[in-house]
Amino acid sequence: MTVEFIGLWIAGFLTLAIFSFLYRDNVFYKIAEAVYVGISAGYIMVQSWHDVVIPNLLIPLKSGNWLYIIPAALSLFMLAQLIPKIRWISRISIAFVVGTGAGYGFVTYLKSNLFEQVHSAIYPLWSGNIWTSLGGVVLLIGTVTGIFYFFFSLEHKGVLRIGARVGMMFLMITFGASFGYTVMARISLLIGRIYFILHDWLQIVK
């Protein structure tokens, strides 16, 4: 009996145990849930130790790079969350992470998500191709009326009301498309697990 064989049966049992929740909450589901949470936490901790702490902190410190004491101290400050009396110390690390993230990401985020997006939304309404031009008109109407919908400084009456309603329709179509994709993603997960049961575990499907 190989390790792979045992692993396969445990994985099969845990998959069925998780699915059993669809019938009702039960002890098998609880066991699988606890195992999942425990193993995930343990796995991430070991992975972080070997792939983050050792190469990015311990090895540089061992080679005499004492500047790395600063990130080491900031890491230890985070553990102060566990002691209520000195919990405030962890705010220093959190402030550092948030500040660095905001400063680092500000320019790149603005460029990629604002300037590039606005730039790509501005093009001639007539491009020489009927379908591209029609797409441009739809994009223009959708963008303007979508903004109308979120414009709350004036009461939605008259032209503003019509615009806001058209904007709402665009939003609904967008949500519908997102919902369709979400269904596809969830069914894909189900297919993945059923395929595992039928192909890898029971070997019914080739």
């Binding site: 669809l22 019938y23 796995y43 991430i44 992975q47 972080s48 792939d51 983050v52 990015n56 680092y104 990401g105 790149t108 985020y109 460029k111 990629s112 998500n113 590039e116 997006q117 730039h119 790509s120 939304a121 967008t174 498309a177 997102s178 994709y181 979400t182 269904v183 596809m184 993603a185 069914i187 894909s188 997960l189 189900l190 297919i191 993945g192 059923i194 395929y195 039928l198 019914i204 499907v205």
Partner: protein
């Protein structure tokens, strides 16, 4: 009939059967591929296909097992496509569990195309840090990864020889992403800061959110969910798990549409009765 009294477990049984039966008895429903440049999958395929032999591409496996049914088939098909064109493949991972999927994708067709580790492909492993890690990878990949997954010095790996700082020598970046870090980071750093071409493979849930990046040209290709993976498998003529899963996907969708219509009819009938 009252919707509130309806036992939803009946729906679960129908959906389970809709998935299990097509997997046991494949229907082989055709998977049509739109071969126009508006299709992100075809554009991605076309871009890889147009690369000359000897080029090098970087594929980042930024996902965990939950997204594997959708993203792993994409990775396998793209790696196989690269192998068939004699294109070198470098893999990285911004998610810890992405490493083993990178390994799986690299080895799936390596024997068929007679590709060898280090000469034709290399798995560099996981790197923590999200966007900062992406920045470091693009700026100097060999400095960021002094060793590959198997402990070999990256300075001595043949497939990495043409690669220099700022990913000079890498023709294309592909990210197979289930969230953050992933597509947005690669677009912000790889494309918008360093001008590299970026292709994204993402879960179906996030595909609509990344579509604007494809429309703006920030993404040179976009594969969304199992359908995107299946289309790519069809283009490279290597039907895999995504293609075989599309039968189940189609039947399950059909059932969901029927349930939505039925639910709305029952709701409208009940509302009319209440009004009366």
């Amino acid at each position: 009939m009252k919707i509130k009294e309806f036992d939803r477990r009946i729906i679960f049984i129908f959906i389970a059967l809709a998935v299990i039966i097509p997997l046991l008895l494949p229907l082989n429903i055709p998977i049509p591929v739109d071969k126009s440049m508006n299709n992100g999958v075809y554009r991605a395929y076309n871009l890889i296909d147009s690369l000359p032999s000897g080029s090098v591409i970087l594929i980042s496996f930024d996902f965990d097992p939950a997204a594997a049914p959708e993203l792993l088939p994409m990775g396998q098909a793209m790696v196989a496509h690269a192998y068939s064109k004699d294109i070198g493949v470098i893999t990285t991972a911004l998610w810890p569990q992405g490493v083993r999927f990178a390994e799986e994708a690299l080895l799936a067709h390596a024997h068929t195309y007679q590709k060898e580790r280090w000469n034709d492909f290399v798995n560099l492993g996981y790197k923590a840090g999200g966007v900062v890690a992406i920045d470091n990878i693009v700026e100097d990949i060999k400095k960021t990864y002094p060793l590959d997954l198997y402990g070999k010095s990256t300075a001595e790996i043949p497939v990495l020889q043409p690669v220099n700082t700022n990913l000079e020598g890498v023709s294309l970046i592909i990210t197979l992403s289930a969230g953050d870090p992933g597509v947005i980071g690669w677009v912000q750093i790889g494309r918008d800061r360093y001008g590299k071409k970026v292709i994204a493979g993402c879960t179906a849930v996030s595909a609509p959110a990344y579509r604007p990046y494809f429309n703006s040209g920030q993404l040179s290709g976009l594969l969304g969910g199992m359908a995107g993976a299946a289309e790519y498998e069809q283009l490279v003529n290597l039907p895999g798990t995504a293609s075989s899963g599309m039968d189940a996907q189609s039947i399950a969708h059909l059932f969901i549409i029927i349930f939505i219509i039925l639910g709305n009819i029952i709701y409208l009938v009940n509302r009319r009765k209440t009004v009366k």
